[in-house]
């Protein structure tokens, strides 16, 4: 579903869907995202009592359950009178957009809403659009405002922007209208531009930009997820990047979780620190490394940034 222009006052502050990750393993992402949004004067209104979106797993078992789960969250956003939902996880954005698409069909909408009603949950009118937090920051603040918020430029850092799969993909679900704040699914640019605005040197032709990390199969197909994570790090190494910036908690956690195996199979020289883009932006906006919770990351970007003189 394409992002739409604000329709009312309530839309200047979109609803924020945290999903399981941002409240758990991806805490550093949430904390640093809030720091970045605060510094840019952007607000998001949290959906309370949200439920897990079902990611890419549930749809393989039941279409109706896979639509009902995200639809409930969209319904909660609508009951807050919001037309826009922002999520920080690629998987969440995908499944919310997928449910949105399915709910456009009247028969499906009727059936799913009946299910939600039986479960004692508000029903969904199909009137919300979904956006990734990266797109939200880009569309609402943009590189110019980011540049003017920078206090401690990321000078001397070469960063590989890793968008991962499912970011604005597939466009049949997410829509591609750059002017309205939707990035290009094949050759995304928003992260490149925002990190550049923070003073970092960005590997703009990073070949692993949108490949899959294998995170969905981190437990069920370990070999694939190690191989994909290793190739992301290896491409970053070949491009001369000091660190990798991520925009998805699953990507971040999956790559970091495979570091020992990557070291063992592909060599320690492949490995480099991995950090959420909001952690890097927050540091550029003046936060201390510790405040941006970079010590949370298993790849220890905190140690690396300190060695480069960041407090």
């Amino acid at each position: 579903m394409s992002a739409s222009a604000p329709r009312g006052p309530a839309d200047t502050v979109p609803a924020y869907y945290p999903g399981c990750s941002l409240d758990g393993l991806g805490k550093a992402y949430e904390v640093s995202a809030q720091q970045v949004l605060g510094r840019l004067g952007l607000a998001l209104d949290r959906i309370v009592d949200y439920n897990c979106c079902g990611a890419t797993e549930v749809k393989n078992l039941s279409q109706d359950v896979s639509v009902a789960l995200p639809a409930r969250n969209l319904a909660l956003a609508r009951s807050m009178d919001r037309h826009q939902v922002v999520a920080a996880c690629n998987g969440c954005v995908y499944s919310l957009a997928r449910a949105n698409d399915a709910m456009r069909e009247p028969a499906t909408r009727g059936r799913i809403n009946a299910t939600l009603e039986r479960g004692g949950t508000p029903t969904y009118d199909g009137e919300a659009s979904v956006q990734h937090v990266l797109e939200f920051i880009y569309a609402r603040a943009g590189p110019e405002r980011v540049r003017s918020a920078v206090r401690r430029p990321l000078a001397g850092l070469t960063v590989a922007p890793y968008y991962g799969c499912l970011y604005t993909r597939p466009k049949s679900l997410t829509g591609v209208q750059k002017t309205l704040g939707t990035d290009d699914p094949e050759h995304p640019q928003f992260l490149d531009e925002l990190l550049e605005a923070c003073g970092a040197k960005v590997v703009t032709d990073f070949s692993a930009k949108t490949i899959c990390c294998g995170g969905g199969h981190a437990l069920s197909d370990l070999d694939v997820s190690v191989a994909f994570s290793a190739s992301i790090l290896n491409e970053a190494r070949r491009a001369g990047a000091d660190l990798v910036a991520t925009i998805c908690p699953l990507g971040q956690i999956n790559i970091e979780n495979q570091l020992d195996r990557i070291r063992a199979s592909y060599g320690a020289e492949v490995v480099r620190p991995v950090a959420y883009f909001t952690q890097l932006m927050s540091v550029a906006f003046g936060a201390r490394v510790r405040e941006a919770r970079l010590q949370d990351n298993f790849s220890r970007p905190d140690l690396f940034l300190r060695s480069r003189g960041f407090p």
Partner: protein, 243 residues
């Protein structure tokens, strides 16, 4: 007669040949094994098309764009992972050949590059998972790890509305007969717990008022499973009868 490319070629037949001192070894004498495929049955295709996740299957015109960009096929190098071919076989109703890939299909990592690129708007990723479901539901196909994971994931999430990642991890590892060394588990658990990133067991997050919707969705899941299994089995039975 349909041409089912791979199985027609006798790939093991490599000739060692030298002509006037030049090595010309290769597939010179490869011949096509003759094969006649009868009894094509469109009912597998119809079953897939009848599922909401598989309804775009009939749009496929076999260009192979999905497979050219597929990360399992091209990046990981698992050449037998060929979404175009899976769809082809399902369209033909060539169940016997399709069954060879029953576990391979489930290795799709759902990156959706195929869906993004398909010029015909086929939701390739969902279609091939639906084909995988058909094979799995009609038995004969061994359950695959990714399928088991989908089930463990869904069950975990429907319990509280929010995923308990640590419990899912433990439950799934048990299913696969593996276990993380206790020390490593403890070390990881403590790190996450200290930084407020681990909410499991009694500390697990839950969605307020989930009990009722949880029950409804578990019923929906069971009903979907029952319906899918019944319709897939009737296709398989009639296929078996015609063979």
């Amino acid at each position: 007669m349909p041409i089912v490319e791979k199985s027609l070629v006798d790939v093991d037949r490599k000739e060692k040949l030298e002509l006037e001192g030049i090595d010309v070894s290769g597939d010179w004498n490869t011949f096509l094994r003759s094969r006649v495929q009868v009894d094509l049955d469109v009912r597998i295709h119809d079953w897939v098309k009848g599922q909401p996740q598989g309804e775009t299957i009939s749009r496929c015109w076999q260009c192979g764009t999905c497979t050219a960009g597929c990360c399992m096929h091209t990046d990981y190098g698992l050449t037998e992972f060929n979404p175009r071919y899976f769809i082809y076989l399902a369209q033909l109703g060539y169940e016997e050949e399709l069954r060879k890939y029953a576990t391979t299909i489930w290795r799709c990592v759902s990156c959706n590059k195929c869906v993004e690129r398909c010029p015909k708007g086929v939701k390739v990723e969902e279609v091939i998972h639906t084909i995988g479901s058909y094979l799995e539901l009609t038995g004969g196909a061994p359950e695959s790890p990714a399928d088991r994971f989908d089930r463990a994931y869904t069950a975990n999430l429907l319990e509280r509305g929010i995923l308990d990642e640590a419990a899912l991890f433990r439950a799934y590892e048990r299913l696969e007969g593996r276990s993380m060394p206790a020390r490593e588990m403890l070390r990881m658990g403590l790190t996450l717990l200290k930084s407020g990133r681990l909410h499991t067991g009694p500390l697990a997050h839950r969605t307020r008022g989930w009990r009722k919707l949880g029950r409804v969705l578990r019923e929906t899941l069971a009903e979907d499973e029952r319906r899918r299994r019944a319709s897939a089995s009737s296709v398989a039975r009639s296929q078996g009868g015609r063979r």
